[in-house]
């Protein structure tokens, strides 16, 4: 009987510990990540909004992701519906990357696409992306972004002032 109690106690303790570990792992999963020039890239803050563009006040998605060390990736998706948005197709997608914030070395999207999934009920978006961006100052200098993904990003509406 004592063995059964010992076993049950150990089992309960194990279950408790397992739950803790799972929760910790979940909280560490970045909501937006990618591979930038073959290195892992994880956003620390992400601003996700529907913004309106003139002249017709069309709804567009704006995702602004920043790493702890200040590298910025912005995705401007010209639409607010689930679909594939491509850089070169009627400017359905525009992306910018700022490699080192202080010197304002900015890269603009040259090719690539975002596969966007919109959950308008819960106001969340998910998706994947791959991009090639080129420096505005030196077009031979480029950045390659692969395996980009974002998961369950909450969004709200924003009027840019």
């Amino acid at each position: 009987m004592r063995k059964i109690y010992t076993f049950l106690f150990g089992f309960l303790l194990f279950v408790g510990c397992s739950k803790d570990n799972n929760n910790n792992n979940n909280s560490e999963i970045p909501e937006l990540s990618a591979t930038v020039d073959n290195a892992a890239w994880n956003a620390f803050t992400i601003d996700t909004h529907i913004v309106f563009s003139l002249p017709n006040m069309d709804e567009n998605f704006s995702i602004f992701a920043v790493t702890k060390d200040g590298h910025e990736l912005s995705l401007n998706i010209h639409g607010a519906k689930t679909g594939i948005y491509k850089v070169s197709q009627n400017q359905n997608l525009w992306a910018e990357y700022q490699k080192t914030s202080l010197n304002h070395e900015i890269y603009g999207s040259n090719s690539g696409e975002v596969n966007l999934i919109v959950d308008s009920l819960n106001q969340e978006i998910s998706g994947t992306f791959n991009l090639v961006l080129k420096s505005y100052l030196n077009t031979s200098d480029s950045i390659v972004i692969t395996n980009g993904s974002f998961n369950n990003l909450r969004y709200t509406y924003l009027n840019k002032k």
Partner: protein
């Protein structure tokens, strides 16, 4: 032995329940009482904005909290250090009941303060606020924000 087991079982069960309760705290990281009604942000954008001009540079906190139904509370705190900041001299705070209509509907703070706590190791800020805001074009129309609370807002530096 059986009694000891029951006690241990109850303790484990209780500690499990307690953890669930902690995890079930409100999901919003910024909430308040606004004109006596509860107000919770759905998204909160938090950044240090770096303003640089010739011979002059300053860092400020910017917090933009938005509800699902397009209300927005905006804070621009003219500092990046922990402290108590007056809503008039040390901050710009505004409220918009509808971001689609921001022009004529903006309320700005006329009274109150923000108590800011900055965790520079983990890049997070927490704090409290109580403010009174008045409509820009009609000062008799006001919004009272009480029991304002934000916790563990991750921030990055925006240039």
């Amino acid at each position: 032995m059986r009694k000891i087991f029951y006690i241990l079982f109850a303790v484990l069960l209780f500690s499990g329940c307690s953890k669930e309760k902690i995890e079930n705290l409100p999901m919003s990281n910024l909430s308040a009482t606004l004109n006596n009604g509860s107000w919770s942000a759905f998204t909160v954008d938090t950044h240090i904005i770096y303003i640089r001009e010739i011979g002059y540079s300053i860092n400020e906190f910017e917090i933009r909290a938005t509800t699902k139904d397009k209300q927005e509370l905006y804070f621009n705190i003219y500092s990046t250090s922990s402290g108590i900041y007056d809503a008039i001299g040390n901050c710009y705070i505004s409220y918009q009941p509808d971001v689609d209509n921001f022009g004529s509907m903006t309320y700005t703070a006329t009274k109150g303060e923000v108590n800011l706590s900055v965790d520079t190791v983990n890049y997070q800020i927490s704090g409290t606020f109580d403010i009174v805001l008045k409509k820009f074009q009609d000062s008799s129309d006001s919004v009272v924000v009480k029991n304002g609370l934000f916790h563990d807002l991750k921030y990055t530096v925006r240039y």
